[in-house]
């Protein structure tokens, strides 16, 4: 059921931001030079810890703002990855904030083996960027994009958000058109989530902003149209990628393989403050506080705050639920291999219900949600959960 060999996916969390965004509940803190250095050293130690159980096919540096590390700090990280022999990862992504990309840094990353950059643009509308508390301007998105291309990146993602308070359908259309013109290989578009402990959530609670469900839905419709029109193939609720090979594929070839592994319930190591890992059925979460994280590793300990291991059926339910977010759904055989359960047997009532509603499709090979069903992926996923 679990991979016998070393884990093939690595996530690294870089917990620093120039400024916290209004919607963000991720763990991050303001970057002071000294703390960042300390973090880099702790991360190097943590990498050693997992070195024996990791042969990464994908690496993902997320945040926070990974691009906030300075050249020296990046050099230190890259050196370690090379020393551990991880640099040959087929897909190596680093998240960038458009305000923090210099040609120098971009080249350093590209030369170090990074081959994919995910750019947190979020919007092209200056008023909305301001509303979200983003530190970058619309112009910086274009400029950074050119820099990344110039540095040799041929696999770029652009992150966009919709249903932002104050966003109109016209503004969203404009943003989608500009994203298309940019010509990235990948597009991630998600609806704003109001997470507790964020300024946006506060505004919702006090009634300063309202959720317009119909407008959000219209924006999602618009997104599906625009993405298809720009030549993207949807492969998950919020993810779209180009497919360059001539032969059709279950998942487009420019899809983010690292993320696909999450939805398929595969193992990955998670390093850095607050990072989650999932190795052979055991989910872990690191201490969120950067100082605490560093202290643990400096004392020669792992920085794991909590672990969770679900019983087999619950784990299978979770894997089923999150896999259904992909347009390809669950190949039955793959699901059986990964979880030990027969999807058609164990979740027969749920599958029947989905099909009845026109939300699901079952054939010999797979069960998947229809485009209508994908709009209720949360609800459908919840139905597949088992306690």
């Amino acid at each position: 059921m679990f991979e016998e060999l070393a884990v093939e996916h690595l996530y690294v969390h870089v917990p620093f931001c120039a400024k916290k965004c209004a919607y963000c509940a991720f763990y991050s803190e303001a970057a002071s030079g000294q703390l960042v250095n300390r973090y880099v050293e702790a991360l190097v130690r943590e990498m050693q810890w997992v070195a024996s159980d990791l042969k990464p096919k994908t690496i993902f540096f997320g945040g926070g703002t990974p691009s906030l590390l300075n050249l020296g700090q990046w050099e230190r990280v890259l050196q370690t990855i090379h020393r551990l022999g991880w640099h040959g990862a087929a897909e190596w992504t680093v998240e960038c904030n458009p305000a923090t990309v210099s040609l120098h840094k971009a080249k350093l990353l590209r030369d170090g083996g990074v081959n994919r950059v995910s750019m947190g643009a979020q919007s092209f509308d200056p008023a909305l960027l301001d509303r979200l508390g983003r530190v970058h301007s619309r112009e910086m998105i274009f400029k950074s994009f050119d820099i990344l291309r110039a540095a040799g990146f041929d696999n770029l993602n652009v992150d966009l958000m919709f249903a932002i308070p104050g966003q109109t359908l016209a503004s969203w259309r404009q943003t989608l058109a500009e994203a298309k013109a940019l010509g990235s290989e990948h597009l991630s578009c998600y609806e704003v989530i109001y997470e507790e402990d964020t300024p946006l959530f506060e505004q919702l609670q006090t009634g300063a902003v309202q959720v317009d469900e119909d407008l959000a839905c219209a924006m999602y419709d618009e997104l599906l149209l625009a993405a298809a029109d720009a030549g993207f193939q949807q492969y998950e609720v919020a993810n779209f990628a180009r497919h360059t090979a001539s032969a059709a594929a279950e998942v487009p070839d420019r899809a983010c393989r690292h993320n696909v592994n999450y939805w398929r319930g595969g193992s990955f190591h998670g390093l850095g403050p607050s990072a989650a890992g999932y190795v052979r059925g055991v989910r872990t979460r690191n201490w969120s506080n950067t100082t605490m994280y560093c202290e643990q590793l400096e004392r020669g300990r792992r920085a794991i705050e909590s672990t969770e291991e679900l019983p087999p059926l619950a784990r299978a339910g979770e894997i089923a639920a999150f896999g259904l977010r992909m347009t390809s759904g669950w190949p039955l055989e793959q699901f059986q291999r990964r979880t030990g359960f027969d999807l058609r047997q164990e979740w027969r009532p749920e599958i029947d219900r989905m099909m009845e509603l026109g939300y699901g499709e079952l054939n010999q090979q797979r069960f998947r949600l229809t485009s209508k069903g994908l709009r209720f992926a949360d609800w459908a996923g919840a139905e597949f959960l088992r306690s």
Binding site: H13, Y190, E191, E213, D214, V237, A275, A276, E383, S387
Partner: protein, 596 residues
């Protein structure tokens, strides 16, 4: 004590006119309670009563008073619940007396409750001693108060005693007047003992303690007595009086007031107003007995369904000291398991709810209160309906009668127009308009009880900037065009919102309820229709449009665990929802609407 030296009396007054302060003064002046033992407001024992300035339950207190003629008298102060909800209890307490002190605030004058109380006392042929209280206040107007007494209450004012209970003015005059003016009790001359049981409370050790007034003969421990209306025969364990703490006496004789205990386990075994007599040689019943019937019904439900047993136990405890309160189990599709509860009136309902919340720390929700309708069927039979769910099909109904009240509303002149409009809105007929004084008028109006259940009192207060007052008495039943209004969610009736309403108001109420439900029912994957219907006819409609998607947010490795927990929580929440066809509605939504 021989009957010639006994006086039994009550104090009647509008709220805040000084009844409790005067009671305390009398206890103090007669030496019944020493100054150092004086708590504020001795007779009102429940917090809630003190807070609202009303008395729901009080003991009769026996005071010994040495009059100016040198003789000692036993004065029994029999307190009455000061609210019309308890008018039968008031009438039983007054029946135990020969006289009453009528207190009127010199600054406020005659108020609605003064009028209602005087009506009750006059019906019992009590000697009324008018007391004009608070004469020390700077804006006291004794002359105007006297004029109102004569004009509105038809009570001669020359014998009114001027007093200030707070300052201790006139207390001796009051005590002397009690002795001089209130007639002593007279034996009825029946073949054996006759005592009136006018109230009761539950004591953990003694069981039910019955408040009694002896009209003939005597009661003592060891006697076999029969309760004529309940039919029970018991042996008296103990008799005594209150000063205000209970104390045991050898016997209670003609004219005396106190208590008896007899190992009675359930308050339901003692009927309010029952006649207690010698079991071997029974005397006739005393006049005026009535079975008490609840006037207002409402469903009480625990907000947390797990609290059902807890609620049941607490309702039982409440009933021990409140035999007028009745309840039985019922279930509602919307609200789960709860109790149909009967109350004497709206105040009684509020008090029970408040006590459950405060004294028993219960989180409860009450359904829309309903009065008891009399339904005359086409076959001539009559049904009493207190729950809209049991209203028969219209084809079997000849007519529906609803309970009416006769209300006294006192209002400053300038608000009279608004007050008339309010009465009209409440389907009231104005019978009389009387000028009380240059500033105020009193309207008397017959209107349906159901119309004054909700917000009537508050509306009067807000129209008159707090200066108006209202009281009422029950006025029988009248035929009325009542219909059952049902609220339907996707075609299924939501029982908690069904109600019996007058046809002229059904549509408006249906519209309001539908709009409120629309606000609270969460959007679903399907369209949800909300309808208000009378019989089969839909009178109002709202639609909750379908959700076309749920959250289409990102979800990566670090989100999975948290998201799974969130989804599990939502799924668990849905299980607790009530489903109407394919529509799931959280119980909180119903509660929101009931609260509004």
């Amino acid at each position: 004590m021989d009957a010639a030296h006994i006086r039994n009396f009550s104090i009647i007054a509008h709220i805040d006119h000084g009844k409790t302060t005067l009671s305390d003064r009398l206890l103090h002046r007669t030496g019944t309670v020493a100054t150092r033992d004086m708590e504020e407001q001795l007779l009102d024992s429940m917090d809630l009563e003190q807070e609202r300035g009303i008395t729901i339950k009080a003991h009769p207190v026996t005071m010994l008073y040495q009059a100016k003629n040198g003789e000692t008298y036993e004065l029994n102060l029999i307190d009455t619940p000061g609210h019309v909800d308890f008018s039968y209890e008031v009438s039983r307490s007054l029946a135990a007396c020969e006289g009453a002190l009528l207190i009127i605030d010199a600054a406020q004058g005659v108020e609605a409750q003064t009028v209602a109380n005087v009506h009750l006392a006059t019906k019992q042929n009590l000697t009324i001693i008018p007391v004009i209280n608070k004469i020390d206040l700077p804006h006291a107007d004794v002359a105007a108060t006297k004029a109102q007494m004569e004009d509105i209450l038809a009570i001669p004012s020359e014998n009114a005693i001027l007093a200030s209970a707070k300052e201790g003015i006139g207390i001796d005059d009051i005590l002397e007047a009690i002795v001089a003016r209130i007639p002593p009790p007279k034996a009825t001359g029946a073949v054996s003992v006759q005592a009136l049981g006018f109230d009761s409370y539950f004591d953990m050790y003694k069981g039910v303690v019955t408040h009694v007034r002896v009209f003939n003969g005597e009661l003592h421990a060891g006697m076999q007595v029969q309760l004529l209306h309940s039919g029970k025969t018991v042996e008296i364990k103990e008799v005594g009086s209150f000063n205000p703490k209970p104390y045991v006496r050898e016997k209670l004789e003609t004219g005396e007031t106190g208590y008896m205990t007899a190992n009675i386990k359930s308050p339901k075994d003692v009927k309010m107003g029952d006649t207690i007599t010698d079991a071997r040689n029974p005397a006739p019943v005393l006049p005026g007995f009535k079975e008490i019937h609840p006037m207002v019904f409402s469903g009480l439900y625990p907000i947390n369904t797990a609290d059902y047993e807890h609620l049941k136990a607490n309702l039982g405890k409440l009933q021990l000291n409140d035999s007028a309160f009745v309840y039985q189990a019922e279930s509602s599709v919307a609200l789960g398991f709860g109790f149909r509860c009967g109350f004497l009136g709206l105040l009684h309902l509020e008090i029970v709810q408040e006590r459950l919340r405060r004294e028993y720390d219960m989180d409860i929700i009450a359904t829309y209160p309903s009065v008891v309708y009399r339904v005359v069927m086409t076959d001539g039979t009559v049904k009493e309906i207190d729950n809209p769910a049991f209203l028969p099909e219209p084809t079997y109904i000849e007519r529906v009668e609803e309970p009416m009240v006769f209300a006294f509303v006192i209002s400053p002149n300038e608000y009279i127009g608004d007050m008339m409009a309010l009465l009209a809105e409440k389907r009231g007929e104005v019978d009389h308009t009387e000028t009380l004084d240059p500033r105020r008028v009193m309207l008397t109006s017959t209107l349906p009880l159901s119309e004054i259940l909700i917000d009537f009192h508050d509306r009067i207060k807000s129209i008159t900037r707090g200066f108006g007052s209202m009281d009422y008495e029950h006025a029988g039943y009248l035929t009325s065009d009542m219909v059952k209004l049902d609220m339907l969610v996707n075609g299924e009736s939501v029982d908690a919102f069904s109600c019996i309403v007058h046809r002229s108001k059904a549509e408006g109420r249906g519209r309001t309820l539908a709009a409120k439900l629309k606000e609270v029912i969460p959007r679903q994957q399907y369209q949800v229709s909300i309808q208000a219907a009378i019989g089969g006819k839909v009178v109002a409609r709202e639609t909750v449009s379908a959700l076309r998607k749920d959250v289409t947010a990102k979800c990566y490795g670090g989100d999975i665990s948290r998201k799974r927990k969130l989804l599990e929580k939502q799924k668990e929440g849905k299980k607790r929802m009530k489903s109407f066809g394919s529509v799931n509605i959280p119980q909180e939504a119903f509660i929101e609407v009931l609260k509004a």
